[in-house]
């Protein structure tokens, strides 16, 4: 079976609720400290892997901080690898990186072809200290990049670190990480932060940086495919929630996604999730988002919508302003990038058609949200 970036099946296993850091934006409700049972996890995985899929299975182990229970993860993985399993599978672990030293490094290094790590890193020392104190100096970036040169990084933006966004993304790039996914912290009230102009300034700086350095992969804010805005109707994939199997070792139950685990939204909500239909989100979309030009670009966590606002499609409107500013700069970036191409792809042509269709709305966003009036030049 050939490995693929897109797996046919994703299985999440909760390994532990404990963490060695105290991130200010953490949404885990860590009332009960637990660690997974190795035999139980092995049985769950063997059951899932007993049927073959086209593109294989991604197994995601998640905490807390999974390497708090390294000895158990090691035991689980080695037990799994010793089995005769026909299904292709690969193990992914998201980590804060601070515990990866000594024996953990040796074990990961010798199994780098079977395990991939994703790093949570919010920026340079200053921003890391703001979001997750006493973490930055504990991360062995050299080891991580040597072991996985293509390692992906998740960067959480809080109101306190947003003013340093461009600096942080460029810093993470300078360390050698190529694939950076920034995202606004969830379950956070952004309403009164009043950071629209600050965000725009930061994104402009990145916009200029990426145009001047075309060999650097832009962070994910600049990679969204704007051609999806040519579709008038919602065409969201249901964030894979319906196809995913997330097994909560704490309650010994399957959920549509690990964001539905009782440790995040509570037991009552977790049970309600099981009754929801994640497969037809178009019908579930609500106004005003349903009428928004940028609906298909707007990343949302349906589970968080449900937990925080009681409906799968009720997005966080306190983030709407910031999302729209991201889209405005993205359209502008794509316009400048595509104009410079001598051999555009069909998708680039589609993107330019999307820019033509929506530039007036981009202008309106900047007028309404930022009081900027000179973004769009209308040549007559």
């Amino acid at each position: 079976m050939k490995a693929s970036k897109t797996y046919s099946r994703k299985v999440y296993i909760s390994t532990n609720s404990t963490c060695n850091l105290n991130c200010k934006y953490c949404f885990e409700n860590e009332k009960v400290k637990f660690e997974f049972n190795i035999d139980e996890a092995l049985n769950i995985l063997l059951e899932q892997l007993s049927t073959q899929t086209i593109y294989g299975t991604q197994i995601s182990l998640r905490g807390g901080e999974p390497f708090m229970v390294f000895h158990k993860i090691k035991h689980l993985c080695e037990s799994l690898w010793s089995q005769d399993i026909k299904e292709y599978y690969h193990i992914h672990i998201t980590t804060n990186g601070t515990l990866i030293h000594g024996d953990i490094q040796k074990w990961l290094s010798s199994n780098r072809d079977k395990i991939t790590l994703k790093l949570s890193l919010d920026g340079d020392r200053k921003s890391s200290e703001i979001n997750r104190p006493k973490s930055f100096d504990l991360i062995d970036f050299h080891f991580l990049l040597n072991t996985w040169p293509e390692m992906k990084v998740n960067t959480t933006i809080t109101a306190e670190t947003l003013p340093y966004l461009a600096e942080n993304i460029k810093f993470i790039n300078s360390l050698g990480f190529k694939h950076i996914t920034p995202h606004f912290s969830i379950m956070t009230d952004w309403k009164n932060c009043n950071l629209g102009n600050t965000l725009y300034k930061q994104l402009q700086e990145l916009h200029n940086f990426y145009l001047k350095n075309p060999d650097i992969e832009p962070c994910s804010f600049f990679l969204s495919d704007i051609s999806c805005t040519l579709n008038d109707k919602s065409c969201h994939q249901a964030c894979n929630s319906g196809e995913m199997k997330a097994y909560d070792m704490q309650t010994r139950k399957y959920y549509p996604c690990y964001m539905c685990f009782p440790s995040i939204g509570g037991e009552k909500i977790a049970e309600e999730f099981k009754k929801l239909d994640f497969t037809n989100l178009e019908e579930l979309e609500e106004y005003p988002c349903k009428a928004c030009t940028f609906l298909n670009l707007c990343i949302t966590c349906y589970a968080e919508n449900y937990i925080t606002r009681g409906s799968l499609s009720r997005r966080d409107m306190s983030l709407c302003k910031y999302q729209k500013i991201v889209f405005a700069v993205l359209f502008n970036f794509e316009y400048n990038r595509i104009l410079s191409l001598t051999n555009p792809s069909p998708n680039d042509v589609l993107k330019m058609m999307a820019i033509k269709k929506h530039y007036k709305e981009i202008e309106n966003i900047l007028k309404e949200e930022l009081q900027i009036t000179s973004q769009v030049e209308v040549n007559t």
């Binding site: 994104l203 402009q204 065409c235 298909n296 700069v329 502008n332 330019m352 981009i362």
Partner: protein, 40 residues
């Protein structure tokens, strides 16, 4: 390059005219951006 004052509608038209022979069409297979938690 300044991020402001860059989108020029007439320039878009001129650009698109250059590449009108490139076959491209939108259809329902274009999907929206999805949750960062579960992809990538």
């Amino acid at each position: 390059m300044d991020a402001q004052t860059t989108i020029q509608p007439l320039r878009i038209d001129a650009w698109l005219a250059q590449f009108q022979d490139i076959e491209c069409k939108t259809n329902d297979t274009i999907v929206g951006i999805t949750c960062w938690y579960t992809f990538g």
